[in-house]
Amino acid sequence: MAPEPETMPISVDFLGGLDTLFSNKTSHTISLPLLNPSDSSPANVGFLISYLVKHHLKHPRTEFFVQGDGHLTPGILVLINEADWELEGEEECELKAGDKVVFVSTMHGG
């Protein structure tokens, strides 16, 4: 198989119980296409989320991660290189190779 030059490695962690949706594994390394194929825009967090849903979310209860409209389910925090994604432009935040994205659910028991 030909190498795929258009991807970049992104480290993705699922915490707070979200790992159960992603093959019970906390830490993943994703080969994310550099460009969003739908509009050829640079890959951002919004694209990462839809990519994860399409290729890595193996659980029937997808609503624990995304809502019907494709937005992240409220109650999940996103940290981009440890910073709250609200400081980074949320879905619009563009990713670069080696970025570390953490999804943490706050909804599970305390």
Binding site: L15, G16, L77, L87, E88, T106, H108, G110
Partner: protein, 403 residues
Amino acid sequence: MAPSLCAICKTERAYIKRPKNHAKLCRECFIRVFEDEIHHTITSSKLFYPGEKVAIGASGGKDSTVLASVLKTLNERHGYGLDLVLLSIDEGITGYRDDSLQTVKNNAVQYGMPLTIVGYKELYDWTMDEVVQTIGKKGNCTYCGVFRRQALDRGAKMLGIKHVVTGHNADDVAETVMMNLLRADLSRLSRSTSIVTGDNRSEVKRSKPLKYAYEKEIVLYAFHKKLEYFSTECIYSPEAFRGSARGLIKQLEKVRPSAILDIVRSGEDMARLVPGESPSSCGCKGQKAQAPVAAAVEEGIGGCGSTNGRTPGGEMAALDKQLRENEEYAELEVDVTKTILKPKQGEKETQKELPIRTASAPSKGGRQVLGQCKRCGYMSSQEICQACTLLEGLNKNRPQIQI
């Protein structure tokens, strides 16, 4: 976009955006401010006295883990002089509690706090596994919650401790406020908003030092302080939360992050408007007195995935069903007795209470008085406490095979 600088130290990069006031903070300043605010809550509500022995209800989850960490820090920093211990409940759920109890054991070592584990088995002769085998998964959270409440108090008593702190956070309180509005349970609403429950009649008092802390900040605090906590959903708790009070809270937070504390504030304010709950709410003549404060009998520690309203689909459906059954009676009464309030000269405005049945009150028996359960001696507003009532049902149905 260029990273912003911390609003406090103005030197470090901001990593956190606070939901309650949008402040952008660096990690160190956030951790400090988070702790300072819990300290503010503790001192302004006068939660502790020097030398007090306090049990932290520890489930191994994020809230109680953060609570233990913060209390240890503040106790040392501000010299509270507290004797802190960890108290855990073993519900007897194989594969769930085993793992979370391991987390608590690790915490005990890290924080240097003694740990006591009280099992449902030793208290009630039932594990939750056995309860579920007998009654099925439906409704088992009710059993678990009722049992847990007593278990913590009994565990505390065993240790000679009169004060249990739990990890309930602002989101939990906001959810309870919404849930109690949905089920029109005003007296429970009134109780659930107060930071300390259990009055001088009860032997063990409870408080929630994290009452004003956002769940989001608790998770971030744990993340940035690298605290170890356990976060698998209880295997017996219902999964979906669509239409639930919890889902609503999270939607509101997304739209307006301050909403969670605003709901808590509303809940506190409304508690003063509940008839019979507060001396300031005027002694209206002819007003039916509510049941005296029953000291939050069914409030659980935030241990399993279902604090008050997190059993949505099922809870909403059950509530709806019960209301429908009551509806025809209620309708008859409403029309006859509905009266518009008219303040008279020199009299404060009053509101006649409509004879609405609340979803949960078994209103037949007249006034409830706080006393002791005839079977177990535990504080109860009924002759037989909830736990003993549930146990009676369970014991009748214990599977024959087990004999």
